[in-house]
């Protein structure tokens, strides 16, 4: 879902909204840029790419509790580099940020962590795979991974395994982000089965469900006029999945990937996928669309996407909306929605 959230870039000197959301549209001097027709190497491409300015490991999960209630979960690690280098010690230019959240129909718990690279407080190793910041951890292979995070008022301890392959967005993982050619490397693992325990103020809840990992890295993913995006990762009851986003700028730029239950993909270029807000909600003192009509006519998709909890607000260094959704219409299912740039 998300070629997004390089919020860390907020810290960079060039940052301002005139440079696109959270500085994502700013320059990439000295950093590598994504190239067309990439070949990915695994497991090394599960690890970090310090030559690129921004990168993330972004996991969301739709969960059902033993109490019969729906839940959502987020575990995200962002990397940003002040320079295209990596070395030991405090002078490492690599910076890390973690976001964790648990959403219930009437509550949304958030925590954030920041860390410097070079001292072992945060990082990602490819083999064996481990992504961590402080005590938060996402580690292990697709066949058996663990995921943990905690905040002052919530925690979770989950285990996961994948039942399908990685899928690559855009052209074999080269994902366009604007008409001017901004792009990122972007692949997902949308086939995780997940189970574990949520620790919430009202008590522990055993949950099971589906998780979706997005891996993305780039150095200049947004056009300078692009100020926000709306990102959908949806799992339909028939086993197919849809990733679709629209980037809001002087004009709207959209991309989508339809994934069948075996992991085969069809990529859709700008304009095929559309999403229109149907209903706004007052969230953190601003209007945010929390019900959408989503169309992909080429695939016969005409659905309404509704937030499980309209107040899924990430009150972090750079605030945004991220939460579980329900799907009705031509297809039914569940999913996650991310919306940024709503000032």
């Amino acid at each position: 879902m998300n070629a997004k959230l390089i919020f860390i870039l907020l810290w960079l000197p060039v940052t301002s909204l005139a440079q696109g959301f959270a500085g994502l549209g700013s320059g990439a001097e000295g950093f590598k840029l994504p190239e067309t027709n990439p070949t990915f190497q695994f497991p090394s491409d599960d690890g970090s790419h310090p030559d690129f300015r921004i990168e993330w490991w972004y996991l969301t999960a739709n969960l059902q509790g033993s109490d019969g209630q729906d839940y959502g979960l987020q575990w995200t690690l962002f990397r940003t580099a002040l320079a295209p280098k990596d070395y030991e010690g405090w002078s490492s230019p690599q910076l890390w940020m973690g976001h964790a959240a648990v959403t219930t129909p009437d509550a949304h718990f958030v925590a954030e962590r920041l860390a410097r690279g070079g001292i072992g407080q945060a990082g990602v190793t490819a083999d064996p795979f481990e992504a961590w910041i402080d005590e938060w951890i996402f580690s292990g292979p697709d066949s058996g991974a663990v995921l943990r995070a905690a905040g002052p008022n919530f925690a979770y301890d989950m285990s996961m395994y994948a039942i399908g392959p990685r899928v690559f967005h855009g052209t074999a993982g080269y994902s366009l982000k604007s008409a001017e050619g901004q792009a990122s490397y972007y692949f997902s693992q949308p086939f995780y089965k997940i189970e574990g325990t949520l620790q919430l103020p009202l008590g522990d809840v055993y949950v099971t469900g589906d998780a979706w990992l997005d891996r993305e890295w780039s150095s200049k993913p947004l056009g300078s006029d692009q100020t926000g995006w709306d990102w959908f990762s949806l799992s339909f009851d028939d086993g197919s999945k849809l990733m679709g986003f629209l980037l809001r700028g002087d004009s709207v730029f959209t991309q989508a990937t339809l994934i069948d239950e075996e992991g085969a993909t069809v990529a859709y270029s700008d304009g095929a996928f559309t999403a229109e807000p149907i209903k706004q909600s007052q969230v953190a003192g601003r209007d945010v669309p929390t019900t959408w009509r989503v169309l992909l006519p080429d695939a016969g998709i005409d659905i309404v996407v509704t937030a499980l909890n309209t107040q899924s607000w990430m009150d972090t260094s750079v605030p945004y909306w991220e939460g579980p959704v329900r799907v009705t219409g031509s297809h039914t299912g569940i999913g996650y929605l991310e919306m940024t740039g709503y000032e």
Binding site: P13, L82, W90, A115, E135, A150, G151
Partner: protein
Amino acid sequence: MIAVTFAALWGHWWRSPLQLFTLLAGLALATALWSGVQAINAEARASYDAASATLGEAQFDRLVHRDGLPIGQDTYVRLRRGGWLVSPVIEGRIGDVRFIGLDPLTAPGGMAPIGLINMNDLQGFISADGRIIAAPDVLLDGVKFDPAIAPGTAIADVGTVQVLLGRRAEFDALVVRSEQPLGQASLEDIAPELTRRVAQSGSDIGRLTNSFHLNLSAFGLLSFAVGIFIVQGAIGLAFEQRRGTVQTLRTLGVPMQFLVLLIVVELLWLALIAGLIGVGLGYLIAAFLMPDVSATLRGLYGADVVGTLKLRLIWLASGMAISIFGTVLAASTALWKLSRMPLNVGAQPRAISVIAGRGEKAQVAASAVLLLVAFVLGLTADEILTGFVLLGALLIGAALGLPTVLRVLLDGVAQYSRGVIASWFWADTRQQLPGLSLALMALMLAMATNVGVSTMVSSFRLTFVAFLDQRLSSELYVTAEGPEQAAYMVDFMTPQVDAVLPIMSAQVQISGRPTDVFGARDHTTYRDNWTFLTAGLTPWEDVHTDAAVLISEQLARSADLQVGDVVNIGQQPLKIAGVYADYGNPIGQAIIAESLFKTLFPNVLALRFGLRLPLEDVDAFVEGLKSEAGLPASSVVNQASIKAYSLAIFDRTFTVTAALNILTLSVAGFAILMSLLTLTAMRVPQLAPAWAMGLTRWKLGLLELFRTVMLALLTGVIALPLGLALAWVLLAVVNVAAFGWRLPMFLFPWDYAQLGALAILAAGLAALWPAMQLVRMPPADLLKVFSNER
């Protein structure tokens, strides 16, 4: 009508510009005194705020090494990965500059200085050649200045400071965020060598310097009281002198309410002008005293206060407020009296005296109640607030009682006076008392304040000198740079001196209180020099033979421990053998035997040593240390030089105190001058008959002068016990409540005599001018009294 009436009222000031001057000057002086003290306090506080914000000590708990050693970077990462939201701090001095290193990404909000919150600076701050942000007084090239940083301090990224101090991969402390995640591992499991130090309600520095500030705050409060009296006097005077004008205007048909309104407007204008002048004067006073205050604090506690002033809104506002508030307070009584003044009664001094007599009963009753409250609180008060209530009750009660006490004394003297002139003099003095009583109250409060503050400061000095003698009993102190050098030094020094006394300490918890524990060698130095507040018969012997412990007064008070109680250091139970004074230390202290210390803290090595040797050998030995052992001069401290330095600091404190003493007394003297000026004019009808009966003007003038000096003397005699009571409250109630230790009180008769002389001098100077006026008064004026209907 408004313009005409106002012109008539205002015309009064044109006719007597001197009175306008006294009113304005009185208000301005009172405001100046108040705002001057406030300015100094506000400035110093702002500096501490910056200091404590820099270190976050006030808000956040910290993890420190149990044995005072550095914390390894690996320990920090282990803690973070165990769910501990902590942030590293490293600190050290390079030359005069104190460097603090922190990690802006993990530092809790409110810890890093404000300038850092601007994330645009982040890249420059944390990059390899990290930017340094410093207080404006730091003399470094290429740094960014930020006034929010404590004076003398520079802040940089933790990595940058590690490199600057040559201390790679280590920290001094870890700041603990107030919100921690669920499921955090226990500290004992991750880093058993660390201990959690609870956030202090004020920083270390703040707590220490607060004891000095209390001094100044008390002075501010008291000067406020003196100020109120002088404003009251000035306003009362202005009203008294304009009774005639008011009466004429009323007779002409101007409604009373309208007159009152006009007077209020006029007074507010005057208060505004006088307030501005006063704040300006206060600024000058503060600017003049600030370098001394700054030096005092720096030397006493090592807290840096910038020795310059900024115009701060808080004391500007408070200065204006006291001017206006004082005016309103003083004018309300005067206006009330004015509005009740019968249309056809003239202003007669005798009338004032009689009316005053009626009010006296209520005043005495109020005084008695307040003094009773003060007495009860004196026995029971144990909080700062009650301590200050006690101060207030004591001062106001005493002030209200003063006129009655003086009257009773005068009545007594009058009974025994022989001769016509003497009888007339005493009777006349008694009659003048109501008119002078406000000014005398101001004088008494000023005098008592000075006695109290002088006693406090001087007691502090005596105690501190004795304390220095106890603590700095060795002739020389040397510091090694590391364990190897320490071992070499001990070998080198031992044959040359009488004794080498290692100084080693570790931080522990005793009864839940953070405490520095010291290991002491069994040596006569300690037995000869240490005094105890309470102790068994042989405290040092108990320490060395029976594994006993000596604890500081602060620890004893805060944990409610007594001699004979048993406390634990780690797993070791220790019986308390004595309690000693440890002035100014915000945390507890304890002393155990060197052998026991080495068992409990095997990793702590002594790097500092006290050396005992004959005084005459000191210079030669120091020379030898430098030339033969190659120890830098900065590692050797001569005990005599520390003491001399400490005393020099105190002398600076005295400069400030003395300057404030003279100022308060001048203000009180000014109040007397104004009261006398009023009375002089009114008293002509009473003096004229005495003159007519043969008393020369010279003699009358001398009697006036004598009267004032005598009243000042009586007031001073009453002020002395009041001042001592004040000092007692400050030392034994407020200080204990604020800092947990009691300052012993000493008496300084010579100082009091000097203060008394100053007070009398102020009164005498104030009386001189009115007396001279009387001496120079043309006989025609005196004669006029007899031709006048009055």
